[in-house]
């Protein structure tokens, strides 16, 4: 039972490149979230999904896109990477709307 698996662990992008951060879960949770964590800041919500085929924007969605075709996977797409997207990205799931979040171990992204 792996929980929430994020790949890759580290990535360096050049300005203007694109990439997809992968998130997979084996807990059969409907709710999935993408957060970013910047030094000295609290976690900020980028996008979330309440089930397959349903996604919505969080606090800081600009520059990102998501899709949710299955319960298990919730990839985050970065188009035209910018230095402001340098951050650590965490995927999280929860069983119900008021349940605790379960986090993956993050992807550390640097854009130069």
């Amino acid at each position: 039972n792996a929980g929430v698996t994020q790949t890759p662990k580290f990535r360096i992008l050049k300005i203007g490149q694109s990439m997809t951060l992968q998130c997979a879960q084996d807990m059969n949770h409907n709710y999935m979230y993408w957060y970013r964590q910047d030094p000295g800041m609290g976690l900020k919500l980028i996008y979330y999904s309440v089930g397959a085929g349903i996604t919505d924007k969080g606090e800081v969605p600009n520059g990102y896109n998501v899709s949710r075709s299955t319960t298990e996977d919730f990839p985050l797409r970065l188009e035209l990477a910018a230095p402001s997207q340098t951050s650590v990205y965490f995927c999280a799931t929860r069983q119900g709307l008021y349940s605790p979040l379960h986090f993956g171990n993050g992807t550390r992204l640097t854009v130069t």
Partner: protein
């Protein structure tokens, strides 16, 4: 505006020296307050959920309490393995502007316990 403030930003303790971490919050209504532990290079790990003022939860050397304005994470006789960043997050009863069920996170308290 819903807000979560954690203090202190950093705390250094000697092994066995008990202390408390503070999480003060401002929300229109509280659905739940969550405590997480985060080790370097890892994702946050869930510790406790508190739902109403007066509620307390315990786990080993940690005890979380909740009032109407703040929560405390008490650490009794800490050990070096308790060193981590502790995050507090609140879930308001209403999320303005969408983001159903979103948690508002504090910036965390970095705890170091020296042997």
């Amino acid at each position: 505006e819903d807000q979560v403030t954690q203090s202190p930003e950093a705390l250094r303790l000697q092994e066995g020296e008990s202390s408390s971490l503070n999480c003060s919050y401002t929300v229109s209504g509280l659905r739940g307050l969550f405590w997480y532990r985060q080790d370097p290079g890892k994702g946050p790990e869930f510790l406790f959920t508190l739902y109403s003022a007066g509620e307390e939860k315990e786990k080993e050397r940690l005890k979380a309490t909740l009032t109407k304005k703040e929560s405390f994470l008490h650490i009794t006789a800490p050990k070096p393995e308790d060193s981590a960043t502790y995050l507090c997050a609140v879930q308001p009863t209403m999320n303005y502007g969408g983001s159903q069920g979103n948690l508002i996170f504090g910036k965390g308290t970095k705890l170091s316990v020296k042997p």
